[in-house]
């Protein structure tokens, strides 16, 4: 399956890009994040991340579909 990944803040710095298309057999968010940790060396514990799929905050149990836009959100610091 193909996923559109977007990266922000420290994850973007670590990945060295703002986004990428990833081909993956993962159908769950945890499995997908584990692949990205290996690929980019993300050190942030997934317990500290929220996840958005297609612009909506979802639960980590959310099932992915081909073509989804997926964003792992580091703790925010606006304001």
């Amino acid at each position: 399956m193909n996923y559109q990944l977007l990266y922000f803040a420290s994850l973007a710095d670590r990945a060295g890009c703002a986004g990428e298309t990833v081909q993956s057999d993962a159908t769950g968010l945890s499995a997908l994040y584990d692949e990205l940790r290996v690929r980019h060396g993300f050190a942030m514990d997934p317990a500290r991340l929220r996840v958005a799929v297609n612009g909506q905050i979802v639960d980590w149990s959310h099932a992915l579909a081909d073509g989804d836009e997926v964003v792992f959100l580091p703790p925010v610091s606006g304001g």
């Binding site: 977007l6 922000f8 803040a9 420290s10 994850l11 973007a12 710095d13 670590r14 993300f42 050190a43 942030m44 514990d45 500290r48 958005a52 612009g55 909506q56 905050i57 964003v71 959100l73 580091p74 703790p75 925010v76 610091s77 606006g78 304001g79």
Partner: protein, 146 residues
């Protein structure tokens, strides 16, 4: 009518504030977040704000709608800057009007707290010593665990 907006250029505070006018309102509370020249004991020279814009806008609107439902308000608005900001620049503006001041103070405080907690915007501080770093919601550096 939108109540929450991201702005890539200086926020037009006067125009926003006029949208709070209501002849039934007796109280108006405004919050401005300014770029400080220091954080956690370090000297700051500028900030970059990065947003995941579509989600930031929908989360922001959800917060404002929730504020209108939770508090007895006439109007509530918020604008958050993105991009590169200098010391003293306005980073976030929040305005509420209400018949009574209690609701106005409580709602304004609640809105900024929720924005800082929920809206996907990240702050990158640039320090006088040349370093920079993304921050956590409590303004401590994220560096160690990214």
């Amino acid at each position: 009518m939108k109540r929450f907006a991201l702005a890539t250029t200086a926020i037009d505070v006067d125009a926003e504030k006029r949208r709070l006018d209501d002849s039934r309102a007796g109280a108006c509370v405004l919050f401005e977040g300014w770029v400080r020249n220091h954080n956690e004991g370090r000297s700051v020279i500028r900030l970059d704000y990065q947003a995941y814009a579509p989600l930031a806008e929908s989360e922001g609107e959800a917060i404002m709608a929730e504020a209108m439902a939770r508090f007895d308000l006439r109007a509530a608005l918020a604008v958050h800057r993105t991009g590169s900001l200098a010391i003293g620049d306005l980073a976030v503006w929040i305005g509420v009007s209400a018949d009574h001041r209690n609701a106005a103070f409580e709602a304004c405080r609640w809105i900024i707290d929720e924005i800082k907690l929920r809206v996907p915007i990240w702050k990158n501080e640039h320090y006088a010593d040349g370093e920079s770093g993304w921050l956590h919601p409590d303004n401590t550096p994220v560096e160690s665990d990214s």
